[in-house]
Structure formats: structure tokens, C-alpha cells
């Protein structure tokens, strides 16, 4: 199994250092998509210096790729660049050799999903409704819910193991339970590539392992490429679960 896990390092810091965070990128199997970031230079409008200066990353289809680096090394920024949330100053991002810019917005959202570190939602929304939002890119403006949407939502909720939370309001959940609900939402998006930015934040050890297992199940069962990032604690558990 371990050959399915790649580790990419950012800024060349040694892993295991107590400051080290890890982003790992699991990828799905055949049918998943390969994600290539080439010489990416990324910066925010508010700062002069680029946060990411010329990094390249390849997440093979059917594998889990972990991206590791210390706090503030630009892992989240790199993921934003890979997900077209931040336009690169230089470099390119390719999904299965196709430039990410040539995708339509919704088309891209059907191909590549991103779970960011900080997500907010209204408190009174139910977990089920939140997960249904993951179907947004699959629905037209006037289109109502189809069988396919329902199946995808059921499957995502089951995979994320938050069936018991389905009718609860997100505002009443603990940090870890919220995280599971958000994971279910990106799963419902049904994408080839999944970028998870520190998906195990807020989670206790038990749930961290559970998320690792979800990622592993995804890699085994479906066509998903899942780069993700996670914290130091899970960098220890990653080798075990993958």
C-alpha cells in the first residue's frame, strides 16, 4: 500500500520536526486524474513577495500524495493555486495534461474539489442540506434534485460516517463533527481529484484515523485523486493507515 503514497515536501524542511505540518495528497485509482503543478509562483494581492516561489508537484492518479512542510511554508496557498482559487503569477496547473484555465468553473468543480482549512456556514443549516450543496456544480440553475444527486449525497454521508448527524444543525456540532460534515460535502461533489487542506484539524485521534481510512477507501474504491494536508499528529498515523 505504501507505494500508493507519495510525499512531496515544500521548502525542504525535514519531516518529524515538531513544527512540521503535513499535507498529504491521496490519489484515486485508474480513472482518477493526475494533477500537475509546474513551477508555480503564487502570491496574494496584499503582499509583495510570493508565498510560493516556483514549486512543482505531481499527484499521480490512484495514489495518495502527501504534501508536507512547516507552518507558513505555503501548503494551503499551493493547494489554492492547484484548485484555481488563486491565479498563479507564473507556472501552470494541469489536470490530466489539460490546463486548468481551460475548464469552465462548474466543470472544474466537477473534476477537482477543495476542502479549505477554514469553512463557515450558517448555524441553522442541517448536515444533509450542507452535503447537498456539494452537488451545486452538477446542477443547472433551475434543475431540481435528481436520483443521481441523492445517491451521491447518501454515499458521501455514508463514506464520511456522519449518517447519525444527518438531520442535526451544523451549529450544534462539535468542531470534529463539523469537519466530517464538510468532508461529506466535498465527497458529494464527486470529483476525480480531491484536495484536502489539513482535513484532520479539530479531530480527535479516533476521528483522525477515521478520516485517513475514508481517504484510503476512496483511493481503493473510486476514481479519486486526493491530495490532502494534515497536521503533525496525523503524519504519524498516515504511514499506518496508508
Amino acid at each position: 500500500m505504501s507505494e500508493q503514497t507519495q510525499i512531496s515536501r515544500i521548502n525542504g524542511e525535514a519531516p518529524g520536526n515538531s513544527d512540521t505540518d503535513e499535507e498529504s495528497a491521496p490519489t484515486g485509482e485508474t480513472g482518477g486524474a493526475t494533477l500537475d503543478g509546474n513551477d508555480l509562483v503564487l502570491s496574494y494581492p496584499s503582499s509583495d513577495d510570493p508565498v510560493v516561489a516556483g514549486e512543482s508537484i505531481t499527484a499521480r492518479a490512484g495514489a495518495v500524495t502527501a504534501l508536507i512542510g512547516p507552518n507558513g511554508s505555503g501548503k494551503s496557498t499551493l493547494l489554492k493555486g492547484l484548485a484555481d482559487q488563486l491565479a498563479p503569477d507564473a507556472g501552470s496547473v494541469l489536470v490530466d495534461s489539460r490546463g486548468i484555465q481551460s475548464f469552465e468553473k462548474k466543470e472544474l468543480a466537477r473534476t477537482l474539489g477543495l476542502l479549505s482549512q477554514e469553512s463557515t456556514s450558517p448555524d441553522s443549516i442541517t448536515v444533509e442540506d450542507l452535503v447537498y450543496h456539494g452537488r451545486y456544480p452538477h446542477r443547472g440553475f433551475f434543475e431540481s434534485v435528481t436520483d443521481e444527486d441523492e445517491q451521491a449525497v447518501d454515499r458521501a454521508i455514508e463514506l464520511a460516517g456522519c449518517g447519525h448527524l444527518r438531520d442535526r444543525e451544523v451549529g450544534q456540532l462539535s468542531g470534529g463533527q463539523k469537519q466530517l460534515a464538510w468532508i461529506a460535502m466535498v465527497l458529494a461533489q464527486d470529483t476525480d481529484v480531491l484536495l484536502l487542506d489539513e482535513p484532520t484539524t479539530f479531530l480527535d485521534l479516533h476521528h483522525q484515523l477515521e478520516v485517513m481510512e475514508i481517504v484510503e477507501t476512496l483511493r481503493e474504491e473510486s476514481d479519486i485523486t486526493v491530495p490532502r494536508s494534515c497536521s503533525r499528529t496525523c503524519s504519524r498515523s498516515t504511514p499506518r493507515s496508508t
Binding site: 494581492p45 484548485a83 482559487q85 468553473k105 462548474k106 466543470e107 472544474l108 468543480a109 466537477r110 474539489g113 477543495l114 479549505s116 469553512s119 463557515t120 456556514s121 450558517p122 448555524d123 441553522s124 443549516i125 442540506d129 450542507l130 447537498y132 450543496h133 456539494g134 451545486y136 456544480p137 440553475f141 433551475f142 431540481s144 434534485v145 436520483d147 441523492e150 461533489q189
Partner: protein, 371 residues
């Protein structure tokens, strides 16, 4: 388990998703609102300068000669020749009722507009006038009344256009490689301050107390003297805005998840935000054209509704369409009858009622401000 029942369950769940769960609280909110509108309407038609008994007035409301007369409705809604009708029916149907209808239209416009702006700016304290609409309209009202008094026949139109233009200015100021809710609100405050100063300055140049009163009535919002003509003016735009508001409730829900999530779900956030703001401005402009700048309704109604049905916009927009008219019609009863025979602008009443209620909500809720 027999297959049929599984299928039934699936279909019923789907039906729930399409029509929104038949939600007890939403249903009672809508029914309650309708009751308030009907009650307020009946009070409004019962009193007035021409004295008739309450029974006579109500009989006139349900006068079959008017209610079932195609020609009468044609006259009301399209502006044709009024058919023959009794004097009481004429007074009730041609003078007292239109005001109730205009109030209802204004109420739903402001409520839905406020609800949309609260989602667009992701701030519960947003109102239809947060992005400069009221200051632009107010300035144009003063300009028209004081400087270009020859154009006062077009005042409703000019006021609405002024509001829309101010909104565009706010958007242009806030735009820098895209906008953000905070920048939009700040730009709205800036434009509002500048336009507000100019507007106040213009009051000094009004040489006639009548002009000043008229300006105050317009800038605080008033339903005095509204007629079927105002219904005709507001109805089409209201219908369009309400329809658009209802069909975009899913976009509004996704927008509430925050820009980055909405964008990674494939939404073109800037386009959707601008389009939705446009719908909200259209609704606000329609209400300004017939009633001036009525404050507080657009702030308070979405808030009340959210308190009752939650923040799901599929329910919230529907709730606003009903609750807005309820507040507006009830407030107008006070505006017209409280200090009889003097009528005060309805905006004063909505502020008097809305302020304390808002305070109550603020004390009751722990976390206010964020949706």
C-alpha cells in the same frame, strides 16, 4: 422490505427537497402574516374622511359588482375607464384599498431586498439601503424638488434611477480585482455619507415649507395619497424581483457558505453577487418609486423571519414575501390613523416599531451580526 415502500420513501424525500419540507413554522408565519394583512386592510378601509359604518365598508370590499367585474380590474390594473359603482364601493376600492396594496408590495420588496443583501454581504445588519441606494435616491429627490422642480412629475422614476446609479458607484468604488462583502459595505457607507451631506445641504435651499415637507415624506417613506397608479407602477417590477428572488434562493444559500467554498463549488461568485445585488436593487427601487425611502422594514423583516424559519433561503425568501407586507400594512394603519386627521410618514412608524423590536432581538440573541 418491499421495494415499493423504499421507492415511496425516496420520492417523498425528493418532494420534500423540491417544495422545501412542509415546514410548520413557515406555514404558520405565512398564515399569520396573511391574517395581519387582511386585518390591517379591513381597518384601513373602515376609517377615513368619508364616514361610513364598518359594516358598510366591509360590504363594499366584498361587493360582487366590483370583485367579479373584469372591467373594474382592468381599470385598476391597466388604467382604463372605471365602471359604474356605488359611492361606497368607489371610495373603498379606489381610494382606501390601493393604499393597502401598495403597502403590501412595498413591504415584500423591501423584505426580500434586505434578505438578499444580507446574504450578499453575509451580514445580518445589512438592509436594502446598505449599498448606497437610499442616499442616491434621497439626493435625487432633493435635487428634483429643490433645484429641478419642473421635473417633479417624474420624481418616482428619478428617485429609483438615483438609487440604482448610487449602487453602481458603490460597486465601482469597491471593485479592485473583484469585491468583498466588507469593501462593498465600506464603499456603501462612504457614498452614503457624501450623498447624505449634499442632501442635507440642499434642504437649506428649499424656500418653501411645503417643499421641505414633501422632501421629508419622500426621504422617510410615505404611503399618503397612493393610488392604483402606484400599484400599476410597482406591480410588474415586484413580480419580476420576487420571482428572481425565489429562484435564486439556492445561489443565496451557497453564497452563505463563504466566497472560497462557493467558488470551489463552481460558482462565479462575482457574477452571482452582482446579479443578486441587481435583483435586490430592482426591488428596492420599485418600492422607492411608490413610497419613498421606507427604513427598517428591509432590515427587520428578514431578521424576524430568520428567527422563525432559520437561515435556509428557500424558506427565508418565501417568509419575507409574506411577512414584509404584514409589517408594512400594520405600520401604515398606525401612520394613517394614530394621529387622525394628521397622517405621518409610514417610515416614522416602522422606525418606531422596528427599533425597539430590534433591540429586543439583540438582547435576546447572543451572537448577532453574522448569519
Amino acid at each position: 422490505m418491499p421495494e415499493g415502500s423504499v421507492q415511496d420513501e425516496t420520492t417523498s424525500r425528493r418532494r420534500e427537497r423540491v417544495f422545501v419540507r412542509v415546514d410548520g413554522s413557515l406555514l404558520s408565519l405565512c398564515l399569520g402574516s396573511v391574517a395581519v394583512v387582511v386585518a390591517g386592510g379591513l381597518v384601513q378601509v373602515s376609517f377615513g374622511a368619508y364616514s361610513m359604518t364598518i359594516l358598510e365598508a366591509w360590504r363594499a370590499v366584498f361587493d360582487p359588482a366590483v370583485v367579479f367585474s373584469g372591467q373594474a380590474w382592468e381599470a385598476f390594473l391597466l388604467g382604463g375607464e372605471l365602471p359604474e359603482m356605488g359611492k361606497r364601493s368607489l371610495i373603498v376600492w379606489n381610494i382606501r384599498l390601493p393604499r393597502v396594496f401598495v403597502g403590501a408590495l412595498v413591504g415584500m420588496n423591501l423584505a426580500v431586498s434586505g434578505a438578499i443583501f444580507q446574504a450578499v454581504t453575509r451580514n445580518e445588519l445589512a438592509s436594502p439601503f446598505i449599498l448606497g441606494v437610499s442616499s442616491g435616491a434621497g439626493l435625487m429627490i432633493l435635487l428634483t424638488l429643490v433645484v429641478f422642480s419642473g421635473l417633479s412629475a417624474f420624481l418616482p422614476l428619478i428617485a429609483s434611477i438615483g438609487g440604482a446609479v448610487a449602487f453602481l458607484i458603490v460597486y465601482a468604488i469597491a471593485w479592485k480585482n473583484g469585491t468583498s462583502p466588507v469593501r462593498l459595505v465600506l464603499a456603501g457607507v462612504i457614498v452614503g455619507t457624501v450623498f447624505g451631506s449634499v442632501q442635507t445641504a440642499l434642504f437649506f435651499f428649499a424656500d418653501d415649507i411645503g417643499v421641505v415637507q414633501s422632501a421629508i415624506a419622500w426621504t422617510t417613506g410615505s404611503l399618503t395619497g397612493t393610488d392604483w397608479e402606484q400599484v400599476r407602477m410597482a406591480l410588474p417590477w415586484t413580480a419580476v424581483a420576487m420571482l428572481l428572488g425565489l429562484v435564486s434562493s439556492r445561489q443565496l444559500n451557497v453564497l452563505l457558505l463563504g466566497e472560497s467554498t462557493a467558488s470551489s463549488l463552481g460558482m462565479s461568485v462575482e457574477k452571482v453577487r452582482f446579479a443578486l445585488s441587481g435583483v435586490a436593487v430592482l426591488a428596492a427601487a420599485a418600492s422607492i418609486a411608490v413610497a419613498g425611502i421606507v427604513g427598517f422594514v428591509g432590515l427587520i423583516v428578514p431578521h424576524m423571519v430568520r428567527n422563525i424559519v432559520g437561515s435556509d433561503y428557500r424558506k427565508l425568501v418565501i417568509g419575507c414575501v409574506f411577512a414584509g407586507p404584514a409589517l408594512m400594512v400594520a405600520a401604515d394603519v398606525g401612520a394613517r390613523l394614530a394621529l387622525n386627521p394628521v397622517q405621518i410618514p409610514v417610515g416614522i412608524v416602522t422606525g418606531l416599531v422596528g427599533g425597539p423590536y430590534f433591540l429586543y432581538l439583540m438582547r435576546k440573541q447572543d451572537n448577532m451580526g453574522e448569519i
